[in-house]
């Protein structure tokens, strides 16, 4: 036990000196637990806590250390390997696939993972446990007197017709710093040319660039923004019903992102990690619309318009150095219009 406390101290010390930026850290379960699972995640603690607690309720004698970081830092930490985590949860599907593809993930096969649909697992290493649509959040006041748009085309024509009303009041991800923004942008550009036209229009309106969904929604709610483009549906739906927050799942197509989990190669407690993974993935895929159900963030989106981003090596393409550089250049030219 002394050794365990010592190692725990070392881990804490290590985390202080680590290169990546920790956004939040929390510890669940008994202090003297026999097993401690280290989870590295991009999901806010408050959102993930119920899942952790539901696991601890059926698995006593286990503690969970939960660390939150940005998706790039999460992937970077796994590649670094200085600090060892047992589970890695990320909204950046492409980075998760990259980790698994490049040998940083450990295969996990169980009755639960075998029962998963094909789209929810990749190579027995990456497993999806939520699917979240990309939403557009609109401000009711900003659109007062206008018909609320239902598709990108309608949004484009509204923005074009009322430049004075929307100038400086359009926000989207800065995909140079947001992995998720980059993922949504690249996938949308694959589906339709509309994406580039919309980006041009937003650029013309001096779009404001954000790192995170929650800040964009905050700004829409406060009236600073009229349009927040491509925010995470899960974040938006939690603010549904608030004044000034109108959520749009575009009817032309809605990108559907999968939040995934993997066990890194360097996991110190892979068995416990597998048990937790089975629990969370099993809860998600048997839960439907329930509290952990995989469909709970689909909201009012049109099932026919949903376009699930495939888990697979195609995601590696936009992570390619040259490809990324070319895409970012094109995007920067469109959005900044210098």
């Amino acid at each position: 036990m002394r050794q365990f406390v010592l190692s725990l101290c070392l881990i804490c010390w290590g985390s202080l000196t680590t290169a990546f930026e920790i956004e939040d850290q929390a510890r669940f379960g008994p202090a003297e637990a026999a097993t401690t699972l280290n989870i590295l995640s991009t999901t806010d603690t408050a959102i993930f806590a119920p899942m952790i607690e539901s696991y601890l309720a059926i698995t006593p004698d286990t503690a969970i250390a939960y660390t939150v970081a940005s998706s790039t830092d999460v992937a970077g930490a796994v590649i670094d390997g200085d600090e060892r985590f047992d589970l890695v949860i990320s909204s950046a599907m492409d980075l998760q696939i990259k980790l698994a593809n490049d040998g940083y993930a450990r295969p996990h096969i169980s009755a639960v993972t075998r029962a998963l649909p094909e789209w929810a697992r990749w190579n027995d290493m990456v497993f999806a446990f939520t699917q979240e649509p990309a939403a557009i959040v609109l401000s009711d006041t900003a659109f007062a007197g206008l018909t609320m748009p239902r598709s990108r085309e309608e949004l484009i024509s509204l923005l074009r017709r009322h430049p004075d009303r929307f100038a400086g009041k359009v926000g989207t991800y800065d995909l140079r710093i947001s992995g998720l923004g980059y993922l949504f942008a690249t996938q949308e550009s694959r589906v339709s040319e509309t994406y580039w036209r919309l980006t041009q229009v937003m650029g013309g309106l001096n779009a404001r660039l954000y790192c995170c969904s929650s800040q964009m929604i905050d700004d829409v709610a406060s009236g600073d923004l009229a349009v927040a483009y491509n925010v995470l549906g899960s974040y938006a739906l939690q603010r549904e019903g608030e004044e000034n927050v109108h959520i749009l799942f575009p009817s032309d197509f809605t990108a559907l992102m999968l939040r995934t989990v993997l066990i890194p190669q360097t996991a110190t407690a892979p068995d416990a990690a597998g048990a937790f993974l089975d629990h969370m993935v099993g809860q998600a895929h048997s839960g439907g619309n329930g509290p952990f159900g995989i469909d709970r963030w689909l909201g009012q989106s049109d099932a026919a318009a949903l376009r699930r981003i495939d888990l697979g090596p195609g995601l590696l393409v936009y992570l390619d150095r040259l490809k990324r550089a070319a895409f970012e250049t094109e995007w920067t030219n469109a959005i900044l219009q210098q």
Partner: protein, 457 residues
């Protein structure tokens, strides 16, 4: 009869050889199918890798003297379309790695055609396809090399599938040929079985050659069998003739000897000499009777070989035979009479039938004590005609009623009575040749009953 010494079985040997070679072929088939499947799987993986590498190199362009490569989304996503595969790629311009996995094993691409290589990377087996194309930029003319690699889980899966297929094809082939082998072995042995059956079905005296067609391979066997039977028949005929000749030659001098012995018996006075000569005469009688029966038997054998098919009136035959033997019965002080005499007839040889009945009555007279009666009856029964000779003698020894019909076998209680043991043998041969049955039994009031039963055709 001694059982033949058996060494091996043609059917079993055939089966073992056929099934053995079927098994060998099945194993061979399994490996061939698996090998072909492996090549096909490898080929299809190579094709898709080549397509991927070509689509990457096709996206390369020189713009303003600089080389740009726009990695197509499908180039990597197509590799994962059926099974989850890890994919790796490297794009080199000259010696410079433009992008991708710099440490991926390098394949020297020959040119427009893709070059393939199997290698190990990140602890997994991978297959690499590489293509190369020269490009001119501001820095000069260099070769653009694109390598695309993927893991082999799909190939392994398809191999496992085809391996299962090959296994079931092999097993099915084996099962089918095993069934065929059984049929072939049975068909091969059938002519032997037919020959055996046709020979076993024959009567004991049937020594005709086998004329039914047999396969070529069995012709020498049948030829030698026919030759053997021919020789056997000739030798049997010779011995029958020899016996008849011998009996004939013995009987005539015996008659002379008997006459002389009787004359001498009259002339001797001493009682012991008289008795000795009486014994001599009895012995001569027995020899003479045996010789007569041997002659009869030879005659019967001869006639049986060429059995006549005349309509024989059984009642007339019975009456005539009883009349002819009545004087003999009178001498022995035995009443010989006919009982029930239904009308009945049978197809056959009248001389043989009369001989058979005569033998039965003769036997009855011989074994009946003086003062008893013998009844001969002919009854038409529902399923045939029965000629029945019933006496009031000592009856038959119950333990040996069937062996009595064998040659030279006599009942255990027949001691002291002249007889050769050939009588019943002749009767049985005749009645069997006419399709009837000889039945010997004891009557309830003591005495024996011998009957000839001719089933209606």
């Amino acid at each position: 009869m001694t059982a033949p010494a058996v060494a091996g079985s043609i059917r079993r040997r055939l089966l073992v050889m056929l099934i053995g070679s079927a098994g060998l072929l099945a194993v061979l088939l399994y490996f061939v199918v698996q090998n072909v499947a492996r090549q096909v799987a490898q080929q299809s993986q190579d094709n898709i890798l080549s397509a991927s590498a070509l689509s990457v190199i096709d996206s390369a362009r020189t713009v303003d003297g600089e080389l740009t490569v726009d990695l197509p989304y499908a180039a990597l996503s197509m590799l994962d379309s059926v099974t989850d595969e890890r994919v790796f790629y490297t794009i080199r311009f000259g010696e410079e790695v433009l992008t991708g996995y710099a440490d991926l094993p390098r394949v020297t691409a020959a040119g427009a055609e893709a070059t393939h290589l199997s290698a190990q990377y990140l602890g997994e087996e991978i297959r690499i396809a590489a293509v190369a194309r020269p490009f001119s930029t501001d820095l000069g003319r260099e070769l653009l090399e694109v390598s695309v690699a993927q893991t082999l889980s799909g190939q392994r899966e398809s191999l496992a599938r085809s391996s299962r297929l090959a296994l079931s094809v092999g097993a099915g082939f084996f099962a089918l040929t095993a069934i065929l082998a059984l049929l072939i072995a049975r068909a091969t042995v059938r002519p032997f079985e037919r020959l055996t059956a046709s020979i076993s079905r024959r009567g004991p005296t049937d020594l005709r050659p086998v004329t039914a067609p047999v396969p070529q391979e069995m012709a020498p066997l049948v030829a030698s069998l026919n030759g053997f039977m021919n020789r056997l028949e000739a030798s049997l005929n010779r011995s029958e003739e020899f016996i008849a000749e011998a009996a004939h030659r013995v009987r005539t001098p015996l008659a002379v000897v008997r006459t002389k012995a009787e004359i001498i018996q009259h002339n001797v006075k001493r009682q012991e000499n008289k008795a000795a000569i009486a014994e001599m005469i009895a012995a001569i009688d027995e020899s003479s009777r045996t010789a007569g029966q041997l002659l009869d038997h030879a005659m019967v054998s001869f006639r049986l070989d060429r059995l006549a098919q005349e309509e024989v009136d059984l009642r007339a035959l019975m009456v005539a035979t009883v009349d002819r033997l009545r004087p003999m019965a009178d001498i022995a002080d035995i009443l010989l009479e006919t009982g029930v005499a239904d009308a009945a007839s049978v197809k056959g040889d009248p001389i043989l039938l009369q001989n058979a009945l005569q033998n039965l009555i003769d036997n009855a007279i011989k074994y009946s004590p003086a003062g008893t009666a013998i009844t001969v009856a002919l009854e038409q029964e529902a399923d045939g005609a029965r000629l029945c000779v019933t006496d009031q003698g000592p009856g038959l020894p119950t333990e040996a009623q069937t062996s009595l019909t064998e040659r030279f076998v006599r009942g255990a209680n027949a001691a002291g009575i002249i007889g050769s043991g050939l009588g019943l043998t002749i009767v049985e041969e005749v009645i069997t040749a006419h399709g009837g049955i000889l039945e010997l039994s004891n009557t309830t009031g003591g005495g024996a009953c011998a009957s000839l039963f001719f089933p209606s055709a």
